[in-house]
Symmetry: C2
Subunit: 292 residues, 2 copies
């Protein structure tokens, strides 16, 4: 998915919020914004928003000297989501359709996206979980159910800290023995890294691997050789969040994307309103069978 002009104001907003996560020094905030403006003026729009965000956040870390600006926020939302788990597990125990209930809760967890809203509050997260089971889940639900039934090796691409704690519920439905959980290779926004997988004890449940990249998505060419091998071998790929959708929606792979639509650009791309809980299958352009 390419970057829209509408993404540009959003990059600026995100960069400013990120600078404020990194430091209280307003001179640094201004320096970051002026750098982003200069970068953005020359940017190539023929890349995904996540690829541009990767460059912005690298620059931010360099200017501010802060390796992980969202560290405290990630910790906060990991704790919040862990505290919510008993309540969410109870919702699941009474469910007639535990797989799709768990998918809904995992998508509600995708609300914890500080790239889209750096001012996200705990109240908003609570509200998202309260609405999780009453909101319609739009997309390829039956195809997902079937793919899950048939899969032997499931690659689960995590999105954010906090959210990752809720992914546990869906991973349990998928059967942990079949699942490999993928986190980012470096800190970017509040995206989940190995630290977050361990903070939420997912490493005790499933194998956790890093993708080798610090993009807030999955840019295959920027990921490690090892990750790409696992990606090619998986017979079911589940990708959480807008960043993974932005970077993988055109990939030649069969992927189920689970996310909450949080911005008008993505909304226009998927043809569904902001706020929609989506479970959508990629439509890979496959080479014609049997021919050249």
């Amino acid at each position: 998915m390419l970057t829209a002009l509408d993404c540009i104001p959003c990059f600026l907003r995100q960069a400013l919020e990120a600078a404020r996560f990194a430091t209280k020094d307003e001179a640094v905030h201004e320096q970051v914004i002026r750098h982003v403006l200069r970068m953005a003026a020359e940017m190539d729009l023929m890349q995904s928003p996540a690829a541009i965000a990767q460059k912005i956040h690298r620059m931010l870390r360099e200017i501010s000297g802060v390796d992980d600006p969202y560290c405290t926020a990630k910790d906060q939302f990991n704790r919040l989501a862990i505290a919510l788990l008993p309540e969410l597990t109870a919702k699941l125990e009474g469910a007639r359709d535990p797989l799709m209930t768990a998918a809904r809760l995992a998508i509600a967890g995708n609300t914890i996206d500080l790239g889209v809203n750096g001012k996200l509050t705990e109240v908003e997260v609570h509200a998202a979980f309260e609405q999780a089971l009453s909101k319609p889940l739009v997309g390829d639900v039956e195809a997902f159910r079937q793919a899950v039934a048939e899969a032997t090796a499931i690659l689960y691409l995590a999105d954010n800290a906090g959210e990752i704690a809720c992914d546990r519920l869906l991973i349990q439905q998928l059967l942990p023995v079949r699942v490999t959980l993928v986190v980012r290779g470096g800190a970017v926004i509040n995206d989940a890294t190995r630290v977050d997988a361990e903070a939420t004890r997912l490493h005790e449940l499933v194998e956790v691997i890093e993708n080798g990249s610090d993009a807030p998505g999955t840019i295959l060419s920027d990921c490690s050789e090892e990750f790409r091998k696992r990606f090619a071998e998986a017979d079911l790929i589940i990708a959480k969040g807008q960043g993974n959708f932005e970077t993988l929606s055109d990939a030649e792979a069969d992927i189920f994307f689970l996310f909450k639509v949080k911005c008008p650009v993505i909304a226009a791309h998927v043809g569904l309103p902001v706020g929609t809980h989506v479970l959508t299958r990629s439509r890979p352009i496959l080479a014609p069978a049997g021919g050249r």
Copy 2:
């Protein structure tokens, strides 16, 4: 009022919306955005947001070759507000406090601000008028009432097209014979110009003058000598909208600002939440009386 870093994403958003008002040509949209990014990277933040917006919209008009991108939208909202007048007049006829009721309706009209929201719908405008009389009006209401009772020469600084039609109700309460209506000297965003004053037939009710500037506010140093003379002579100045507040809040003049708080930067500045209907008096820093 100075420009905040938070204004920068908003300038980009506004410039993109303005470019889309000017033309459907996406290449022009991109050209405008890249120009604004370069300008913004070097901008002096020690000026009001309206002063920066003035430069952005001049550049937009130059690049697009369109002198008045919001022309059709201004016409649309003038017509809408004129059509609403009988209903608003009826609300006023039953009012116990016609002056403040008219002020509330004039502030509700300030919703018609395409700089803040280029996607404003007629439904949102209707909703604003429906809520106009039940929303609290915050500020220097009694001081305003007294100033109106004592005034002989009232300078009324209009803000937007559409809104200006609703200003008629307040101007009637102020007594038209005392009022001079001021419009912008050139087209910028959907700010009211002489064309809009005439389209809404206000020129038949009051004297209409232009301020000589194409800023979306009142930058005194950019206004005509003639306007500045009228500004200095007025014994009551009423300034509508955020742009006039941004540019005149630090002026050495006694001004009553009437506007709807529509952005977080203004909200922080006045200490009131977004959405508040405000009637606030300037607090001019006057020279100490009686010399040193």
